[in-house]
């Protein structure tokens, strides 16, 4: 296959750029998302933003906007649901996410709705416009700048929140910053991967690099790089095999995670210590 072939078409060029941008930012951010054990909240927010996407598609406004509104609404609903102590926050989150997914489905599948629900669920990198690309580029670059500025604070709080407070950092503010970046990342990435698959770009690269790098800074950069490589590979694979682009990218990302997890950790590849989960009641299954 001619490597340059996908680059001939404007659509695929934009798809490649989109995937590279969101991969770089989301992959790097994902390193912190997993370190802070936020993958379940991330997944819940990703599923929960669906109605926002559908409304944006129905109204004809850019999906990025729908993603931002969707994340904000989802975060609010999930936070409100989690307040009942009897039911427990994990269960309440499930109630909220199920309702939001249902709402998205209702809006998108009503008879006169022109939206292609599958693209919102599973992504459509090939549908990216120049405007979308510019917006994504701006946000991704801002996000990466934020990561550069914040990563040492993240590392300190992740390792030892109490100690970080003693150093003058404010763990709560740091966590809020992280969640803000997560919201931005989700809003950017849903166009390419869709509400159901976007978690892959946040979590899989982090899994791929865990244990192979001796400093959080390097691991974060490596995660971003892994995401870009895997994302580009996914677009190429979809071009070659004729498979759905978003799903192909998700699969290559997960493949990277599997490979990275299977490789033995490098000596000195000390994984960053996992932070204690803050708001969740620790889940106890039947065998706890």
């Amino acid at each position: 296959m001619d490597l340059l072939e996908p680059l001939q078409s404007g659509i695929e060029r934009r798809a490649l750029l989109e995937v590279a941008l969101l991969g770089g930012f989301c992959g790097a951010l994902g390193y912190w998302i997993t370190t802070f054990r936020l993958s379940y909240p991330a997944e819940s927010l990703a599923h929960g933003l669906l109605p926002g996407l559908v409304l944006a598609a129905l109204a004809g406004v850019p999906l990025l906007l729908g993603g931002v509104v969707g994340v904000a609404a989802a975060a609010l609903v999930i936070a409100l649901a989690g307040r009942d102590p009897r039911v427990g926050s994990d269960t309440a989150t499930a109630v909220a996410v199920t309702g939001l997914l249902g709402l998205g489905g209702m809006l998108a599948l009503s008879p006169d709705a022109p939206t292609r629900l599958e693209e919102l669920l599973f992504g459509n990198p090939l549908g990216v416009s120049d405007g979308d690309l510019i917006a994504a580029a701006v946000l991704a670059l801002l996000g990466c700048a934020a990561l550069v500025g914040l990563h040492r604070a993240f590392g300190a709080v992740a390792l030892d929140a109490a100690g970080a407070r003693a150093l003058g950092l404010r763990p709560t503010a740091v966590r809020i910053a992280l969640l803000g970046l997560l919201a931005a990342a989700l809003a950017i990435a849903v166009q390419g991967l869709g509400s159901l698959l976007v978690l892959a770009v946040l979590v899989a690269p982090a899994v791929a690099v865990r244990g192979h790098f001796d400093s959080p800074g390097r691991a974060m950069v490596a995660a971003g790089a892994t995401a870009v490589v895997a994302g580009v590979a996914g677009i190429y694979a979809s071009h070659l095999l004729g498979t759905a682009a978003g799903a192909s990218v998700a699969l290559t990302l997960c493949l990277a995670a599997a490979i990275g997890a299977a490789l033995p950790p490098r000596p000195g590849g000390r994984p960053a210590k996992d932070a204690t989960p803050a708001p969740h009641v620790p889940a106890t299954g039947p065998n706890a």
Partner: protein
Amino acid sequence: MILDYIYPVSLLASLPSPGDLVELPFMRTALIELTLLGVAGGLLGAWIVLRRLAFFAHAVGTATFPGLVVADATGFSATLAGLAVALGYAGGVERAGRAGRDPGDVATALALVVALALGVVLASDVFESGAAVDRLLFGTALGLDAADLWVAAGAAALALAATLLLGRAWTAAGFDAQGASAVGLPLRAADLLLLGLIATAAVAALPAVGALLVASLFVVPAATARQISRGIPALLAISVAIAVAQSALGLYVSLWLDVPPGPAVAVVGSMLYAVVALTRAALASVSDPVPVAETT
């Protein structure tokens, strides 16, 4: 623009008669199906909420998606394909000992992403059945046949029998696993049965509510019931009542708005949860000027 799609007047004008649920043959079938699933979902949902298995209930449904795609395209039985995946997932989860949601469990989250992505690739590129994806993910009221009813009836019967026979053991295990083990209960077998039953009942629900929205019947009604019940027998009864009412109401909404039943049942259920939660919060602030933290 968006105004074109919000036409409340014409929506209200098209309100169907509730009798349609019983008179239209396909609706009758759907109503019976959803009622049976409501019984199963209400009963098992109580245990799901008590034992913190909400994520498992959602995940086991989602995981079946690629199997359903293959079955749909090849004519293989969707129920069997779903059961194979669901029971396999349940067994794997039990062996890993992490049926509850482990906040650090990225492996499961990624496994579900793989399942969904694989299903999409198979559906659109191997089997070229794009329209089926929506039906498999969100359910359908049409096309439910007698076989689906039998499966749902079986799930409801199993849920009832298991609750009667295993309820004491499940309660003791959820309350104090070590004490229950000391008392001689076969905890591993009882929990394996619980996970297997949830998986089986989820598969029964797939045709009607879809792979993504199993939790709409298996988590949401029980969560609502949990807010207002005192003691486990009450929880079970109220959970079933809410689930059955919710599925009937959801089916009605699905007929009215011409959307699949899964999303309608999910939205109705979550709204009911919200109404109950808000009412309780309002009552609590009225009777107790100073908010009291609840323990149970």
